[in-house]
């Protein structure tokens, strides 16, 4: 006999109320990055030695701006999820809470800064 509420079993979210959400998002962003990273590496290597104007022109191309935005969003999301697990495993007590909050803030800021930077380059091109 299960003592669990049938609704809880049906929802499948467990005691942390997140279910497989973290695991699945880590995999989704991994697949996105597996597709986008080869493009980004070719894009970045192609910009080595270029001046600021050339870099901005390259970033401002519609396809580049779209792929670059997707890349940084997937990257920061994936990094945040990964760091969260590492901190959960090795850091405990008050320091764990402080680090988990700091990680969320830093990667949210990085994502906003990167998207605003791409936007500024695109809309001033």
């Amino acid at each position: 006999m299960s003592l669990r509420n049938p609704l809880s079993t049906a929802k499948g979210l467990g005691s942390a109320k997140d279910g497989t959400g973290h695991w699945w998002n880590q995999r989704l962003t991994a697949i996105a990055l597996a597709l986008l990273t080869p493009w980004f590496v070719v894009f970045a290597v192609g910009l080595i030695g270029d001046g600021q104007d050339a870099v901005r022109r390259a970033v401002a191309q519609p396809l580049s701006a779209t792929l670059l935005s997707s890349f940084v969003l997937s990257l920061f999301w994936h990094a945040r999820l990964g760091l969260q697990v590492v901190v959960e495993d090795y850091v405990h007590g008050a320091m764990e809470i402080a680090l988990q909050i700091a990680i969320k803030f830093v990667y949210a800021l990085a994502a906003i800064a990167a998207l605003l930077a791409i936007g500024r380059i695109v809309f001033t091109a």
């Binding site: 991994a30 597996a34 080595i48 870099v55 970033v59 670059l68 940084v72 590492v86 990167a114 930077a117």
Partner: protein, 129 residues
Amino acid sequence: MATRERPLSPHLQVYKPQITSVLSIVHRATGVVLAFGSLVLAAWLVAAAGSAQAFATFNGLMGSLVGKLALFVFSACLVYHFLNGLRHLAWDTGRGYDIPKVYASGYAVLVLSVVLTAALWWFGLGAAA
């Protein structure tokens, strides 16, 4: 009830290092390094969107010996984490779990990491020259 420090599992130090465990630890370590590297990417975009002085400052930092060393470490970590990540995604579909396959894919990731990182810097330094 009194709580005392109890031994935690796993005891990494009592195991002989094996390619399976070492590659798993390296995957995690390279992931942490890349999490910091991703912030450098954000800084690059902000610098490119900013003033000429900001872009020159960023290029000066990354062009220094420490900057180049950091870029090399980030690129090597990226290649390894990318290749080993594909290995993890294959495992997630239930494939490649036999020990001989795990060892073969592990050695393949190591060899390919060295080759691809070298190729990346070959092209990168060629583009810079």
